[in-house]
């Protein structure tokens, strides 16, 4: 599934650069931020192309990851916004709980080992604040989109810290953009 890998890679690039540009250009010191952005872009560019790419097959089982991302998101969103524990406590509780799931299975297949990561990815989505959305109608489609992105990105940036967060961020940004487009 080279096409899935390419789509995911392209999405990562777009997300990272738009995140940096939007975050840096809020300041009036344009000269400094442009310089910094250029340096960071070169370093990220080098890392992108040096990143190991593995070609694992996509299986039908991978689709279950969408369900786990949605579950992680629902639990965290509920703890964060409905019980009002705050984003870090909510995601921490969900992630810690998820990390013990493989202990309940005697046969630890790759599929079972992947469950905590998928749930933790959903937990990042659930950290979304009320300023962005308080609605399940927003967060569940965002989780489904992130789940698809999670599957597509299976073969890239393996073992890179922050990959799951970028996947979650992708879901939130795409859903916000779609909602903004339709509400305009």
């Amino acid at each position: 599934m080279k096409i899935a890998r390419r789509i995911a890679f392209f999405l990562f690039i777009v997300l990272h650069f738009s995140f940096l540009m939007v975050n840096f250009y809020h300041d009036s010191n344009l000269f400094l931020w442009t310089g910094l952005l250029l340096i960071i872009s070169v370093l990220i560019g080098v890392a992108y192309f040096k990143a190991p790419r593995e070609d694992e097959e996509h299986f039908f089982e991978d689709l279950y990851n969408i369900v786990f991302v949605v579950i992680g998101c629902i639990i965290t969103f509920f703890l964060n916004q409905k019980i009002q524990l705050g984003p870090v406590l909510a995601a921490g509780l969900t992630g810690t709980g998820a990390s013990f799931i493989p202990n309940f299975f005697s046969r630890k297949t790759n599929f079972i080992k992947e469950i905590p990561a998928a749930i933790y990815c959903g937990a990042f989505l659930g950290m979304t604040g009320p300023a962005v959305s308080e609605s399940w109608i927003f967060i569940i489609p965002a989780a489904v989109i992130s789940g698809v992105f999670y599957i597509f990105s299976k073969n890239i940036f393996q073992g890179y810290g922050g990959k799951l967060g970028s996947v979650a961020f992708g879901g939130v940004v795409i859903t916000s953009s779609v909602l903004f487009f339709f509400s305009a």
């Binding site: 870090v88 810690t96 998820a98 990390s99 950290m127 810290g161 967060g165």
Partner: protein, 142 residues
């Protein structure tokens, strides 16, 4: 002082998670989630322990930088690079605008960018032209 504390938290979050993940074999998810949970709980139970700024931001920075510590050994083995990544994370966090505030995954994206910047630095440092410059300097010293 606040800035220094945030920078220190970033470096500590990345390093402690990495150690919990690899040295104590907790696994990436448990290492990040459990440590972040402990830090968040401390500030939840003792909200007046530090200033309100630090009480709000330390758990967020710790959790964000703990994503850096989820990195695999294949990608990053050097603790110094982890500390650099944690500091880069904190610097981006401190200078972020409000546009993406509250977006789920924003901390993870910042962590991913920090890891990529450090990995880029490491790749450049290992590259042939840099090695040649180092060898040339060494020969000149000898």
């Amino acid at each position: 002082m606040n800035t220094f504390t945030i920078l220190l938290t970033g470096a500590a979050g990345a390093t402690l998670t990495y150690l919990a993940n690899h040295r104590f074999r907790m696994g990436a998810v448990r290492a990040s989630a459990l440590l972040s949970l402990v830090v968040a709980l401390i500030f939840y139970v003792f909200p007046n322990l530090l200033s309100s700024y630090l009480t709000t931001h330390i758990p967020l920075v710790f959790m964000g930088s703990s994503f850096i510590g989820m990195v695999s050994r294949k990608v990053m083995e050097n603790i110094v690079l982890l500390v650099i990544s944690g500091i880069i994370f904190s610097l981006i966090y401190l200078n972020s605008g409000q546009f993406f505030a509250g977006f789920g995954g924003a901390l993870g994206t910042t962590a991913c960018i920090s890891v990529l910047v450090s990995a880029g630095l490491a790749a450049i440092q290992k590259s042939r032209p840099i090695k040649k410059v180092k060898q040339f300097r060494k020969r000149r010293k000898d």
